[in-house]
Amino acid sequence: MLEIDGLTARYGRAQILNGVSLTLGRNEVVALLGRNGAGKSTTMKSVMGLVRQTGGSIRHDGWEIRGRASHVICRAGIGYVPEDRRIFGELTVDENLEVGRRPAREGAPHWKTDHLFQLFPNLAERRRNLGKQLSGGEQQMLTIARTLMGNPSLVLLDEPSEGIAPVIVEQMANVISELKREGLSVLISEQNLHFAREVSDRAYIIEKGTMRYEGGFAELDANPDISTKYLAV
C-alpha cells in the first residue's frame, strides 16, 4: 500500500529526515510514535509532497509518488489530516467539505455528506457555521471529514488526539475503527501511547529523523526501556 524507503528531507539547510523507512499494508492501522520534533509531521508532509525531499523513495501501490505535486498525490488516494487542522475558518462547515470533495474512486469507499454527518453528529448541527466558530474538537472532526470527502484509500492522521477533550478522544478512536472497518489504511502520528495502542495494529518509533523501532505493542510493552528512551519526556 505505502512503502517509504530511505527518505531524507530538509527545511532550508537543516536536515530533518535521515533515511526514514516504513511500510503500511492494506487495511492496516499503524502508529508513528516519537517525541516533539522527532520528524513525524515531516514524514507525513513528505508523503504529501509538502516539503522538499532530497532522497529516497515513496511508493503508493507500487507507484513512485516522491517529487509529485500534492494534488496528484491526493488524487492517487492519499488523504492528509494535518496536525494543526488547517480548516478554512472563513468558510462554513459545508463549504469546507466541498473543498475536499473528489469524484468516487475505485477500490475506496465513497463518502457522502450524510454518512459523514452520521459519523460526526456534532458537525451535522453546525453545517452553516463558519469553521472558525467551531470548538477545537469539532474542528478536528471537520478536518477528518473534509479529507474523507476525497475518498482516500490511505489516510495520514497527524496527532488526531492532540489538544482535545478526553470524550472526543474516545470518539476519535471510534472513528478510526470505523475507517478500518470501511477498508482504509491509516497512518497515525501520536505522542499519546495509550491512544495509539488502542487504535493501531503495530507501531514505528522515530527519533531525530531516524526509525528506532518497528513492531507490535506487546513487544514494546515488554521492553519498557525502548519507550523510556525514545518516548518519555
Binding site: L50, A69, L91, E95, E98, V99
Partner: protein, 614 residues
Amino acid sequence: MGFYLAQLLTGLANASSLFLIASGLSIIFGVTRIVNFAHGSFYMLGAYLAYTLVTTLNGGILGYWFSVLVAALIVGGIGLLVELTILRRIYRAPELFQLVATFGVVLIVQDATLAIWGAEDLLGPRAPGLDRAVRLMGEPIPEYDLALIAIGPAVLAAIWLLFHRTRWGILVRAATQDREMVGALGVNQAWLFSAAFVLGSALAGLGGALQIPREAVSLQMDLSIIGEAFVVVVIGGMGSVTGAFVAAVLISVLNAFAILIFPQISIVLPFVVMAVVLIVRPYGLFGRPGSEHGGAEEPEQPLRLLDQKSTMVLLALVAVLGFSPAVVSDFTTILLVDVMVATLFAVSLHFMMGIGGMVSFGHAAYFGVGAYAAAMAVKLLGWGMLPAMALGPIAAALAAIFFGWFCVRLSGVYLAMLTMAAAQILWGVTFQWQDVTGGDDGILGVWPAKWAASDRVFFYVAFILCLGGIWVLRRVAHSPFGYTLRGIRDSRIRAEAIGVDTRFHQWMGFTLAGTLAGMAGAVFVFSKGSVFPDALSIGHSIDGLIMVLLGGIHALGGPVYGAMAMVLIEDWVSRLDYWRFIFGGIILTVVLLAPDGIAGGVRRLGQLVRRDAA
C-alpha cells in the same frame, strides 16, 4: 445642498471604477500572493481596446456595451498569457522577484501599446444613450456617472455570487486562506491561479473600458491608477473584495469633498488614509493575517563573507576606479559618478531588504529627501556645497526616523505598502509645494562649489562619499547589530524570545538605510545640477529594486553589479526606440533564467572556470 449631492455622486462614480480595478487586484493577490504591478497595464489595455472596438463598430447602445465586454474578455485572455508564460514559473520565488517581473510586464505593455496605438491621447466617444446630464436638485449629473454608480455594486454582487454559490468560488476563497492545504485536498492550484488571474485581469480591463467616455485614453493610465488601486486593496484588506468596495467608496467620497477645502490634496489623500488605516488595523479593514502555511518561499541563503582573494580583487577594482579619471574621458567620468550614486542607493536598499528583511517599495523617498534638502540648502539658505551635502543625509535620516517608526510596526507586503505610501506622500508634497520645491519644474542650478567644479574633482568627492557610505553599510552588516537584524529577518519570534527589541532594531536599520540613500541623493543633485519630483517617485523606487534584483539579493556584492548593469543598460538602451520593451525583456530574462542575479551568475561562472582549471 444640490451641490453636495452632485459632489457625492461624482465620488460614488469614481468609486465604482476604482473598485473594478482594485477588486481584480485583490482577487489576484488573495489567491496567488503576487503583488501585480501589471494590473494598471491591464486597465490601460482595456481602455485602448474598448476605444478601438467602439469607434470601429460604431454600433449604438448595443455596440458600445458589446465592445466594453469584449475588451474586458480580451484583457482576460492577455492576463492568461502573462500568467502561463511568466508568473507560473515564479510563484515560489521571493516577493521581490514577482514584483520586478510584473514591472517588466508593465514596461513591455507600455511599448507594445505605443507601437499599436501611438503616443497621442485618444478621446473616446460618449456612451450612446447615456450622453446627457440629468438635473438632480438643480445640479447637472452625467447619466453615465449614474450608470457607473449602479455598475459597481452590480459587479460586487456578481463576484459575491460567484464566490459563494460556485465550487470554483469556494475553492478560491479557501485558497486565499491556505493554498497549500487546498492543494493537499486534490485541487490543482495552477489552474486555480490561472483562473483567478483571468478574472482579475478581466475586471481591470472592464474598469479601463468603462473609463473611455470619462477620460482621454493615454499611455499614462497604467502607472497613474496602480498606486491608488494598491491603496484601495490594502485599506480593504488584501484578498477581500468587499473590503475593496468599501475602501474605494471611502477614498473616492472623501476625496470628492476634501478637494473642496484643499484642492491639492487629491494626490496624497489616499496614501494618508492608507497610512492611518494600516496603523490602526495592520491588515486593513476586512483583511486577516495570512496563514503561515502556503508561503512556500525558497529559504534564504546566508550571506557570505568575502574570502581573502575576493577582498583583494575588490580592493583592486576600487583602486582602478580611483585612478580612472586620469585615463578615461570626461563623459565616462560623469557616467562613473552615476554608477557610484546608483550603487550607494542600491546597497542601502539591499541593506534594508537583504539584511533587515524589510521589503521597501518606497526607498526613493529618502534618496529624494536627501537630494531636495541639499538643493534647498543651496537655493533657499545660500549654503555652500559641503554643508548642503551634509544636510542631505541628515534630512533623510529624520524622514526615515519618522516614517520608519510606522513602517516597522508591520511586516511583509503590508510594510512594503506603507513604505510606498510614505514615498507617495513625500512625492505629493514636493510636487504640490510649488513655492518651496518648485513643483513639477524642480530645483535647477545646484552646482558644485568652485573648487569641485571640474568633473575630475567632483568625481573624487563622489568617490569618497559613495564608497565611504558603502563601506559603512558593509561594516554594519557584519557587526553585532547586523547579525541581530538578520536574526530578526529569519525568525522574529525567536529573536523576541531571547529578548531582542525587534522593532527598535528594525527601526534603526530602516533609518540607517534611509540616511545613506539620502547621501546618494545629495551627491546626485550636485552631479546633475538639478532635482525633480521623480527622484521620489515609485518608478525610481522600482529602479532600486531592479538593481538589487539584477545583482542578486543573496550576495553583498549584488547591488554593485546591479547598479552598474542598470546605469549601463539605461545609458545604452534609452537611446533606442522601444527601450522599455528591451529593458522589460532583460528584466524578465534575469528573473526567469538567472534568479540569483548577476552575482550568482558570476559565481557560477567562476566555479565553472575553476573546475575546468582543476
